[in-house]
Amino acid sequence: MSMTQARQRPGSTAEPSPAPALLEGRNIARSFGQTPALRGASLGVSSGEVVAIMGPSGSGKSTLLHCLAGIFRPDSGEVRYDGRRVDQMGEAERTKLRRTDFGFVFQFGQLVPELTALDNVALPLLFNRSGRKAAYRRAMSWLERLDIGDMGARRSGELSGGQAQRVALARALVTRPKVLFADEPTGSLDSVTGEKVMNLLVDSARQEGTTVVLVTHDARVAACAERELIVRDGVVVNPLPTAEI
């Protein structure tokens, strides 16, 4: 089944997901010291879906994203991506997976400040051993696609918050990841700029067939997704579509 076929349309939340999950969490538990952040969180995300993870501060939503993305290893439970057990992979394998299959956008762009915008976007391709010329050509095309083609020579300190987030988005998508993980991607932006960045994120992901897992506390941002999962006290309270709760 292609990613496009598997994608759920907006408004389809009342119907069971027809596609097998591309990304799946089963009973994920993760503590930090004595403090449990996740206490058995389960969820499934179909290929091509745009899913928002919502919840109050401290509910465990960011930890869940980090576990799904192979950044944190769960204390117990399973994380499956494309049928593979991410939780059982070693550090090197998870790093490789993150580099080849996943893209990331965080609240503060986290661009390398010494590099230009164009360098930042080309960087993941260079890490993946793409040819330098092709890498820069592709990086430039992504900057243009996100309407910041004229910002390529600027360093992050010379960019506005919205421009920096677009650069971060270009950097996340330039490798054509299967899954884009975004943690409060518009959290540091004003509402108008945040909305533009969000629209670009969702539109680009849909055009590329990229699955998106988005953490947000903002209902307006969550409304850009096709489905929202609520995390409370370390558990996903609605892992199934609403009608099946």
Partner: protein
């Protein structure tokens, strides 16, 4: 709008009299806007006509004779449906939502789940408005924005209330 269902909710706990229902309504839901006696009895009359409550025979008391009202199966079904189904997401439904949460806690129903269902309905409506904003004219977008900001306010209230359910439950339980 939520007076009939509030009375049904109070009667779901136990059969009661018009005066008692008014007193309880004012304590839990009135908040500076007491329910007129006329409206209590008119509402009870309509509920009795529609077979949602039944009135007992006249009972002598200290004052005038009074009637004891009890909820019927049909009234209980209406109440359960109202509690468990999300309200139509629209601006200014705070009073109805508030009533729903208090009644749910009072009757030992899963208030948190009702709030989750309501949140899902709200986000779904925001999704529709979002599409309208992106495809419609500027005027349509501004109208959609107006609705979205109100829905956002509701959602913030839903989140806050979810976080305070335990305290609220203590307050409304007898």
């Amino acid at each position: 709008m939520s007076v009939p269902v509030s009375l049904l909710g109070l009667l779901q706990r136990e059969p009661s009299y018009g005066y008692e229902l008014k007193r309880e309504y004012d304590a839990y839901f009135g908040r500076g806007k007491p329910l007129p006696f006329g409206q209590v009895y008119a509402t009870l009359g309509r509920l009795a006509r529609d077979n949602k409550v039944v009135a007992g025979g006249a009972e002598p008391g200290d004052g005038p004779d009074r009637r004891r009202y009890a909820i019927t199966d049909s009234g209980s079904e209406d109440l359960e449906r109202w509690l468990s189904e999300p309200l139509e997401p629209e601006p200014h439904l705070q009073t109805a939502l508030f009533t729903k949460v208090v009644l749910a806690l009072m009757l030992g129903r899963p208030a948190e789940r009702y709030l989750d269902v309501q949140r899902a309905a709200h986000v779904q409506r925001m999704r529709e408005l979002n599409n309208l904003r992106r495809t419609g004219t500027v005027v349509e977008a501004l109208l959609a924005d107006h609705s979205m900001f109100h829905l956002e306010a509701d959602l913030r209230w839903i989140d806050l209330t979810s976080a305070r359910l335990a305290v609220l439950a203590e307050e409304v339980s007898r």
